[in-house]
């Protein structure tokens, strides 16, 4: 036995175990996978509609699309730049499709429309919705030819004349007309331009999925590089879109997490230096923090496979609580130097720390069971982190500094301030009561308007970037398709059949003028059943010739000219059906890929369904409403209307609702645990009172200040209860022992200052998720301490 009362063997064991655990953890961390997209904040067990939404958000066409604007210079310069930039992007091979409105370009740079037109022409009798048996009767042919002739002798007629003899019923113009979008960007100088500003426009969708941020970053770097020559001409590049936001958010989260860690370390270091004036004490005080962070990251990595950036940022707040353990230890072991050093801490300080730890774990355990991976990660991280920090404090600190921290620095002064506070605060009890009642009343009055946050409030995209995005979207007429119609089936054919049934109903809405139009993959990829029906309606050459002779009698287009038409129909009668592979190489392939896809399975063993999407275009000057669309689609069980905005809102609503329950459960668990430990009603009440008041005043203050409260504020409140319970227990302990020395009071004040400082830093973060937690915990923790003193019954 040596002076510390620890055997050499035990010291070696404790240190060795801790060191190897840390090394192992660091290795895992270095090999870990880190994400920064919104996926962690989407539900893990979504319903069918949400699953489509999530698939779309993660890998849909929108998630891969960059909106590009070119400003500066004159219109001709911008148009030329748009052409060269589009060419450079296409040549890079990183983009599946680059559109800039130019359809007159030569060669392969026409975006594939030349090939597309030929393809449509070749398959017109399988694709055209007008192909029915009636169309090939004498009466039907007469009507179809008349309609085609009505386009001749107009500016549009020139293009038609080339195919008049082989397509007199006008199937090709019909197909092309259906593919022209109802709303499209303005064209000037042959390229897309903005209606509002002097700006040329492009739309580029990457080959890589939206979630592959490394590939997305590479594509964006290539875009910036390709634009460099035009920058010299005085042109400016504007870029927006989900892939850009994702890449920026990742970079921002990375940078902020680093900044927070550095700033937090510096502030904490400063405070600790003031308190201990010892480098050694400073280093030792950081050990539980480091252990906690490593344990948290490793636990999340092991249970989720990857760590979200927000979780990491949140982790730095753990510094605030974990460093408290070290402060209590270093000061309290020092106090007890005459009476056994760390042993006295073990007897008097550790039980309080342990109880505080259990209450924190109870609080966060509720989050672990959250249906949202993002929240569950925060829960796992906090629990593992606090456990790691506590274990390190319990087993490693006594080995390294058995007698606590030497030197007293400014602790005496801190202690004196604390003592003044402890004496003075109880006098404020009645004013605090009044304030609390005021806050409670205010909250009760406005309880509907308090929780105003939405999913967008979790997004770290700054306002200016959101404005630019909205402006480019309006220019490109690419307003987020708010309403989608989803047709579902067990296989692609079933999904296409369901989409065709939906298209028939939607066509009715278009005729009524409620819709300007809609896009459907069945326009270029009809179901096999439909193709078979069309093929079967094509008559034999003899029958067709007879009908044609009757139909054209007396008309300006003689049947004798229409031999190529009879041949084309005869050929189409033996034509193989169109399959998705036939579309390769045309500009239609990306469209069909985006609109017909396999969803993710609902659960283990369940087959993944196929989805066909129909995008709706609102009639000019009309808002698109889900109700008439849903009414029109009634009776089609395989077809649903997806209101994206409403789905996202309900997603967040569910998220918030779940978090509220979890927070409540967590709070109840904390109270039960305290009750079990204290085994006294009055003591439990005395401990809970300051916590309840701290939550009430924090919430009231933020709500009265007009801060829209969201889920992360709620998580912050949970943290206030977890941290605050330590203070309340401390005062409960004071009452039991009846007295406290300056050093112990100083440790309390110091612990609180570090917590408030670290969360105060986080409140300044530009990442909304982090600043929300900081905004709650910094004032909440301070209030928890002051109120614990205020409501304390002990004489000090």
């Amino acid at each position: 036995m040596n002076a510390t009362g620890l055997s050499l063997q035990r010291r070696a064991w404790a240190l060795g175990l801790w060191l190897s655990a840390m090394v192992l953890g660091l290795v895992l961390i270095a090999r870990g996978h880190y994400t920064a997209d919104l996926s962690a904040f989407l539900p893990a067990s979504p319903n069918a509609q949400q699953r489509v939404l999530i698939d779309q958000l993660q890998s849909g066409a929108a998630a891969r699309s960059l909106l590009i604007g070119i400003e500066g210079g004159d219109e001709a310069t911008r148009a030329a730049a748009s052409r060269s930039l589009a060419q450079a992007l296409r040549r890079s091979g990183l983009f599946e499709q680059v559109q800039n409105g130019a359809i007159d370009a030569q060669g392969s740079d026409d975006g594939g429309w030349g090939a597309t037109g030929r393809w449509l022409y070749q398959h017109r009798y399988l694709l055209s919705p007008a192909v029915t048996p009636e169309r090939f009767t004498a009466e039907g042919l007469r009507g179809a030819v008349e309609e085609t002739l009505s386009l001749l002798g107009t500016p549009a007629g020139h293009a038609l004349k080339a195919t008049l003899d082989s397509d007199p019923t006008g199937e090709l113009p019909l197909l092309v007309e259906a593919l022209i979008p109802a709303s499209a960007p303005r064209v000037a100088q042959g390229v897309w331009v903005s209606r509002e500003q002097p700006r040329a426009l492009l739309l580029a969708s990457s080959k890589a999925p939206g979630a592959d941020l490394d590939e997305q970053a590479a594509a964006q770097a290539l875009l910036a590089q390709a634009f460099q020559p035009f920058q010299a001409q005085g042109l400016r590049l504007l870029v927006s879109g989900p892939p850009l936001f994702a890449v920026h958010s990742r970079a921002q989260i990375e940078a902020e997490v680093k900044q927070l860690a550095i700033a937090g370390t510096l502030v904490m270091g400063g405070l600790l230096t003031l308190a201990f004036a010892s480098w050694r004490a400073l280093l030792v005080a950081f050990l539980p923090v480091a252990t906690g962070v490593v344990a948290g990251i490793v636990a999340v990595l092991l249970s989720f496979g990857s760590v979200h950036g927000i979780t990491l940022g949140f982790g730095s707040t753990l510094i605030g609580e974990a460093v408290d353990y070290a402060i209590y230890y270093l000061i309290q072991a020092r106090v007890g130097a005459e009476a056994g050093g760390w042993r006295r801490w073990l007897a008097e300080g550790w039980p309080t720390v342990r109880l505080g730890l259990w209450t924190s774990i109870c609080g966060f355990a509720a989050l672990v069971f959250s249906g949202f991976p993002g929240l569950a990660q925060l829960g796992v991280f906090s629990i593992a982190g606090l456990l790691g920090a506590a274990l390190c404090t319990r087993w490693v600190l006594p080995v390294l500094m058995p007698w606590g921290a030497a030197g007293s620095a400014l602790r005496r002064q801190l202690g004196r301030v604390a003592r003044l506070g402890v004496r003075g605060l109880p006098k404020l009890r009645w004013p605090v009561w009044g304030l609390g009642l005021l806050a409670a009343g205010w909250l009760a009055l406005h309880h509907d308007a308090i929780w105003r946050g939405d999913l967008a409030s979790l997004s770290p995209v700054p306002k200016a970037a959101q404005d630019l995005d909205a402006s480019l979207r309006q220019d490109l007429s690419a307003t987020d398709a708010r309403l989608l119609v989803i047709a579902q089936g067990d296989d692609p054919q079933a999904a296409l059949r369901a989409a065709e049934a939906a298209a028939v109903r939607l066509e009715g809405l278009v005729s009524q003028g409620l819709l300007a139009g809609f896009e459907s993959p069945t326009r270029v990829l009809p179901s096999l059943a439909t193709q078979a029906g069309r093929r079967a309606s094509l008559p034999s050459p003899e029958v067709l010739r007879a009908a044609l002779a009757k139909a054209t009698r007396g008309g300006p287009l003689p049947a004798a000219r229409l031999g190529p038409f009879v041949d084309a129909v005869a050929q189409a009668r033996a034509q193989p059906f169109v399959s998705p592979d036939d579309l390769r190489g045309t500009a239609l392939a990306p469209m069909v890929d985006a609109m017909l896809f396999r969803g993710s399975a609902a659960g283990e063993g369940a087959a993944a369904p196929w989805f066909a999407l129909l995008a709706l275009q609102p009639a000019a000057g009309r808002a698109l409403d889900a109700a008439p669309v849903a009414a029109a689609l009634k009776g089609l069980p395989q077809v649903q209307v997806l209101d994206i905005k409403q789905q996202l809102d309900s997603l967040y609503g569910r998220y918030l609702h779940e978090a509220l329950w979890q927070a409540l459960l967590g709070a109840v668990a904390v109270v039960v645990l305290l009750g079990l430990y204290l085994r006294s009603g009055p003591r439990l009440l005395a401990v809970c009172q300051p916590l309840a008041w701290a939550v009430l005043l924090t919430l009231g203050g933020l709500a009265a200040g007009g801060v829209p409260l969201g889920i992360l504020h709620l998580v912050g409140l949970l943290l206030v209860v977890a941290v605050g319970s330590n203070y309340a227990l401390f005062f409960d302990q004071l009452q039991a022992t009846g007295q406290a020395d300056d050093d112990t009071l100083a440790s309390l004040l110091l612990a609180n200052l570090t917590t408030v400082a670290s969360f105060g830093l986080i409140a300044l973060s530009k990442i909304p998720a982090l600043s929300a937690i900081g905004q709650v915990v910094a004032p909440g923790a301070l209030l928890a301490l002051l109120l614990s003193g205020c409501f304390a019954r002990a004489k000090v």
Partner: protein, 194 residues
């Protein structure tokens, strides 16, 4: 003395005729002023289109209506019902039981053709000059406005458009296509509604 006076007057009169001449000629601003007085109108039309390789000209008829500043509708009744309605930047085509909307300025040549008629009906000289080289001939009672496209892509389709009219009324539109086809439209205004 008297003779001198008469001679002087004659001289002045002649000079007046000579020099004041151009201001009496019928010019674009005059036509535009006449046209812009008409805020709305209804008319019947008959159209004949001469298309190469067809045995006979294509005939159609129907009604036209316009309402300043930006609404214009062509309703074909024969041989098949068909409607083309322009309002602001939106073009709505209804034919064969289908109705489709398009954005006009997504296709600049479509804008130009619409403006040839809409710009003339509303007396919008700026709009006409943006898309065409206008040449006016005739007088107020019987004028003829020739529009030659400025845009190369439109010129590839349409060689020229000729609008004929009497005072503030449009009476005919002739469109010469680049490939030699031609459409001739005769317009018979309906008396203004009470």
């Amino acid at each position: 003395m008297l003779r001198e006076l008469v001679a002087r007057r004659t001289w002045l009169w002649l000079a007046g005729c000579l020099f004041a001449g151009p201001t009496w000629a019928f010019a674009m601003p005059d036509l535009m002023a006449l046209l812009s007085q008409q805020r709305s109108g209804e008319a019947r039309f008959t159209e004949q289109r001469y298309v190469a390789n067809l045995d006979a000209p294509l005939k159609s008829s129907g009604t036209l209506s316009f309402e300043a500043p930006d609404r214009f509708t062509r309703r074909t009744l024969l041989p098949r019902p068909e409607t083309m309605a322009v309002e602001g930047n939106t073009l709505t085509l209804s034919r064969g039981g289908r109705s489709r909307q398009f954005t006009l300025d997504a296709a600049p040549e479509m804008v130009a053709i619409v403006e040839a008629v809409r710009g003339t009906l509303t007396g919008n000289a700026q709009s006409l000059q943006r898309h065409f080289r206008p040449q006016l001939s005739g007088r107020a009672e019987q004028w003829s406005l020739l529009l030659v496209p400025l845009d190369a892509r439109l010129a590839h389709q349409v060689r020229e458009i000729r609008l004929d009219g009497q005072r503030g009324e449009l009476r005919g539109v002739t469109m010469e296509m680049a490939d030699g086809d031609r459409s001739v439209m005769q317009i018979e205004p309906e008396p203004a509604k009470p």
